[in-house]
Symmetry: C4
């Protein structure tokens, strides 16, 4: 192998596609773990029963996270130059406005600015907006876990079927709600929970997805009769889009894995043919 | 292409089968959206906590909808003449008594008559009947979304299996209810909710569909034991008809899509052969 | 076709296997409907809020049912002579002690005896026993709906896999219950509902089958954490036996349908070859 | 067959792999039943409403179990010498530190020591620890039911897909919880149950697994709207890892059964060829 500078080495650490091994590089693994921890911190931070000591620890952790993500952002901006697309000033600008870079920026900048310039303004609105913006950190993970961008491909692949089954499910939910509204809300015992179609839709969704919280249920014999028929006939219907999606998602995932394996094998074979590297036993 | 009159052009806009592109025509898309909005309006209209302003807006929207659907009905009646089956006076009568045309009529006429002749009679009975009749508008959508008429074909295709599994599920629900009735309603703590077989059936359905509202559940150890056995053994059984249906529905849908694609391709090839149109790149 | 006596004609009406058409004979259809109605009557009879008029009607219906089933039993006993196995006195005895004939007897005799000899004794115990015995009428239906005896074949077919997955599910339920018992019942807030392993098993079954009545659920953070992990990891596990059963049942059903169709075709072809009947268009 | 000593005969009884028939040997069946009974006893023992007589019976049963398991342990240690790996003193030490032998030891020793040396110390802590240790008896069963060690192979087989789908499910749970936290806990009616993200996660898991206890559910229109969308879109997502696992588990199980059958057939054929045993009809 030829010599390579620090930037190139960093690039191979930070850019998943530039890496010649499978799996995350140590650097990216560290980032992923930080993001997961920051989500855990976000969750715990909102819990009012946490002790003050914990809250203080979480605040310091948040500041550390922001600092690390700021450094990461600058590093990624620097090493982006290794990619022909992002070379030069114009390339860097293109990088800055790329989706992942934007998400990276949102993931630390608003909170950094707040800490630097207005830490005393801890009104609920500000805190809430900052917390919502932290969800942009999800993009940091999605860059490494291919499944997250499989979603779009799945929706594409199963589009027509998914749309049809969703339309059927929606129609069923609506009609079920209308029936129960007439039986339980208008006729029968005039239950408050079925007093309008939107409320009956809440019942229909809770029932047809089989969640069944138990906050709303029919009490008249007629209402129970219709609810029974709807439940037995409709549960399969409402589960259909989920099934279609699951199956398409699973197919997409398998295909990608196969394509990736094939590409890797071909690359390896080519390398062997060109004599660049000798085949190893653990390949 | 040859010249064509307004009626022919409208016919190709309104009749999905006469259209040479896939997807809805702008006119039909407009109708579908109106129907969906009218269902939304129906739902909101029943909500007692809506403000008066909203209620007034919804009423005006309803009147507009009825006017549009009336115009649509007359237009469809006019352009039906393009279809050989519905040509001439006798053909038009045949059209009027066809399923979709009847549904189109029910979708606006009763409410139109009520607005014109008896708007002051807003007794609950009349309002409720009018609201139920609005469900006929579902037929307007089902004309364009093939899935809605796939239902019949699916029931045909899976008929025998569906019937058998439904019979098994019903038998299981009944026997489960009888067991719990004897254990919880007659013996044990004599729960009110299990005091008769019909009430126990309500429990059995809520349990075996896994909805589990929590309004009824066994409390004695023996009742819980039987309920556990029934749940573990029976859930698969009761989910079977839904599974059979879902699988047949999905198969039917796929076959239709393939058949449609094939027909379109053949038609295209024929056109190319006869030299009517030149093959385009985006075919 | 040759002449045949009344008994032979009745035999072909009553014995499904002796019938040359598919579907139920009018006589058997009548019996099946009667059985279903008798189950409906049984259900309604137990409902304390039914009016006295209805109760009286149901009682008369019950008496009519018993009379009809008694006549049916005697008829079946008579026509059984058409079957070589049940010919003669010894054959008839063999018939009487066959499973279906026993169930037929239990389906009417106890109640007939009670009506004839001790109608005044309507103590709850007697009424309950009589009601339970009526479930024997299920056998009357199972004779005609092949699916009911498919159950045994299914259990045979999927035996090993079913047993293994059930054992896994049971182990999971038990271990989940033990964990929640220690976390919620012994440690934590010492909930009454988790105060013993049997009670925690009730929670585990309600959760892992996703019924979730809501009568029992963890409230401590640790309990909720374990419950979450158990739910996400375990639901697939507990649904596995049901899935294995459903798939084997569906396979068994399809195979039987195919075998039946094939047998019918072969019989038909043979008949055509031997020239007994001429092939008809609607075959 | 040649003569064989008691140890060899016992070895064939105790070691499943040394047995030439399928199924459990009488000795191992006895052990499995004892383990199952001991788990039943453990469950009943924790139930505070059990009568004192039952409790006494259970205590005696526990002592008997411990004695039997102690004897079983010593026997297994003795017969382990039949296995070349565990021959001699060094081999025995290796056996003692093997997984199953350790579990066998934990299954009786702690409780035996407690009975022998400190029965008067029945503080809750001690009792609880002893009860938890009894779960080690599961290993006794897992030795005979191959399914238990199929788990590892399944996780291996479906690893990548399982991980991806689990990550998606986790992300969905988290994002759903955050949305409902902002809508129901921060905005809206400020429900206590949604007052922090961890609490909202409890709701998200109960909903997306369709357990739906009903202890937590949205009440504001906006919250119900988001919950509906999340439920319909997300249930398939969260069920995906369970589906992936179930399918891989089922595949693994089938493959193993086939491999076992094949191995048995080959062994049989070899025996026939070498003339060691004559082929029997019931093979």
């Amino acid at each position: 192998m030829t010599q390579m500078g620090l930037r190139h080495r960093l690039y191979r650490q930070m850019e998943p596609n530039a890496r010649d091994k499978t799996g995350l590089s140590p650097f990216n693994l560290f980032i992923v773990i930080l993001v997961l921890l920051s989500f855990l911190a976000l969750a715990l931070e909102t819990e009012p029963t946490m002790s003050d000591d914990w809250m203080l620890a979480i605040q310091w952790f948040n500041i550390a996270i922001i600092a690390i993500f700021a450094v990461e952002y600058l590093l990624r901006l620097w090493v982006a130059g290794e990619d022909p697309r992002y070379r030069g000033l114009k390339g860097r600008l293109r990088y800055i406005f790329s989706g992942y870079a934007m998400a990276d920026l949102v993931a630390f900048l608003p909170e950094l600015l707040w800490i630097l310039f207005a830490p005393e303004d801890s009104s609920q609105q500000v805190v809430m907006v900052l917390r919502v913006l932290r969800l942009a950190r999800l993009a940091k993970i999605s860059r490494f876990i291919p499944a997250f961008d499989v979603l779009g491909a799945t929706l594409n692949r199963a589009g027509q079927q998914l749309f049809t089954t969703l339309a059927m499910a929606m129609a069923l939910v609506y009609v079920s709600a209308v029936i129960l509204y007439f039986v339980e809300g208008v006729g029968g015992l005039q239950q408050e929970s079925f007093a309008s179609i939107p409320r009956a839709i809440w019942w229909a969704i809770a029932t047809l997805t089989t969640v069944g919280y138990g906050d709303v249920y029919p009490v008249t014999p007629l209402g129970r009769f219709f609810a029974s028929v709807i439940a037995i006939a409709g549960i399969g219907m409402v589960a259909l889009p989920a099934g279609v999606f699951a199956s398409a998602f699973s197919d997409e995932l398998r295909e990608r894995e196969n394509a990736k394996l094939k590409a890797r094998n071909e690359a390896l074979e080519e390398e062997i043919e060109t004599g660049e590297v000798a085949p190893k036993g653990d390949a």
